[in-house]
């Protein structure tokens, strides 16, 4: 195993995160671009932190999302940057967002349970769109008659919304507290059991 100095390591890690097609984890970096070097975990973390700081004043930022590190543009620049594309970002209906929110906060959850909370039927189209976007997936089946599918969110969902884990969900805490205070028989407590991605 070869040695690599910190300056070179920083360059290599920076370039790797930039050119990779998807976010990259420290583990992936160690298995690919760094596989012939001896790099301590601490050193790698230090270099990544330095990169984060280096880019803080710049137009793009190094962020950690569920599937790893990626560089992305500064939030505040979006009004101008979006002009680079002809099409506007898609808008999602309230029905879709409410369904997605329920799956995110209460996963794993069945379609029936979503319908119970929302008081209306969930259209198959919504489930299909969310699945095709790779935001939700079936993680199992509930052992009740009909064995309905249990839905959960994916890493792709967290990546898309710039979150590293489900605990980054806005108001995750408030949701949890409120859910608990509502009723003892409420099935809302599931949030605690949500798999931490």
């Amino acid at each position: 195993m070869k040695k690599i100095n910190t300056a070179q390591l920083k360059q290599l890690v920076e370039a790797a995160i930039f050119v990779a097609d998807t976010p990259v984890t420290k583990q992936q970096l160690k298995e690919t671009v760094l596989n012939e070097f001896t790099v301590a975990d601490r050193t790698l973390s230090k270099v990544i932190n330095e990169l984060k700081l280096d880019y803080q004043p710049r137009g793009i930022q190094l962020v950690e999302v569920a599937s790893g590190y990626r560089f992305q543009s500064l939030d505040a620049l979006s009004p101008w940057l979006s002009k680079l594309w002809q099409e506007n970002a898609p808008k999602y209906s309230r029905a879709m967002l409410e369904t997605l929110a329920l799956i995110a906060y209460r996963q794993p959850i069945t379609r029936g349970e979503i319908e119970q909370v929302r008081g209306v039927a969930v259209s198959s189209n919504i489930i299909k769109t969310l699945t095709e976007r790779d935001w939700i997936k079936v993680v199992g089946h509930k052992e009740v008659p009909g064995r309905p599918a249990l839905y959960a969110t994916t890493k792709g969902f967290l990546d898309y919304f710039s979150m590293a884990s489900l605990s980054d969900l806005p108001n995750a805490h408030a949701f949890e507290n409120m859910a608990e205070s509502i009723a003892s028989d409420s099935p809302l407590k599931v949030l605690n059991e949500a798999p931490s991605e």
């Binding site: 990626r70 209306v120 919304f161 806005p170």
Partner: protein, 286 residues
Amino acid sequence: MSELTKTNNNKETPHEKGLSTPVQQPLPLAFINGEALIEKPEDLFIPPDALEVILETFEGPLDLLLYLIRKQKFDITTLPIAAVTKQYMEYVDAMMALKLELAAEYLLMAAILAEIKSRLLLPKRSDDSEEEDDPRAELIRRLKEYELVKQAAEDLDIQPRLERDVFKAHVEVSENVAPIRVEPDVSLAEIVLAFSTAMKRAEAFENHTIEREALSTRERMSLILSLLTSSEYMPLERLFTVEEGRAGVVVCFLAILELVKEQLILCIQAGPYAKIHVKLGSHEEN
């Protein structure tokens, strides 16, 4: 009517939200031709498209109920069921009168409201030692839960989102980056086994036995072929190497004979005792 007029002049954003701030202002029921419609005008003609918009605006009976509760500044925890039911039924009746396709959920909610109302009207039995459950409790729980989900959806919507608020930075790799392909490992034993299998199979299917030649001869045949060209003759002796000794010369000679036999190379000799030259068997133009 007065409320409608008032809100038309209201310049504030109609969709102020937040659980903490219950109702400071009437929420618009729908927008028609860009104007906020706040309440079903009681005595006036109801434009049918207004109610259609209502149906599209609300995500279901819980959403409509929440709207009514907020609009009337009712306390969700005490839920004045008679008033809420009356208002709810007005909307449902109006929509039904217009034969709008009303989702069954709206009618189911109407039934639930009616049931709660009737249970509240029933006199409590004195011998009930245990405190009877408030018939409104379940509905209140559902409303609170739904309100929470509604809020969560709104929060999710303003969460920084790829392709809308943030964009992935991507950098091209420099031209000399080439994907690495790791070829599978092969062991010599696999090759020997493969050869045995192929030969055994061939022998089983065909009657003639395939002659086995010394490998060294065949290797030399390959070597000679790769040394020669079809355009130039090469002196035969250049194919022999003294260092290889007698055995090497024999192998080489056998290889040449075999190649000549298979017409893979051409040997020519200008005259008796002249030097022999060889080249690759050239393709005769027909």
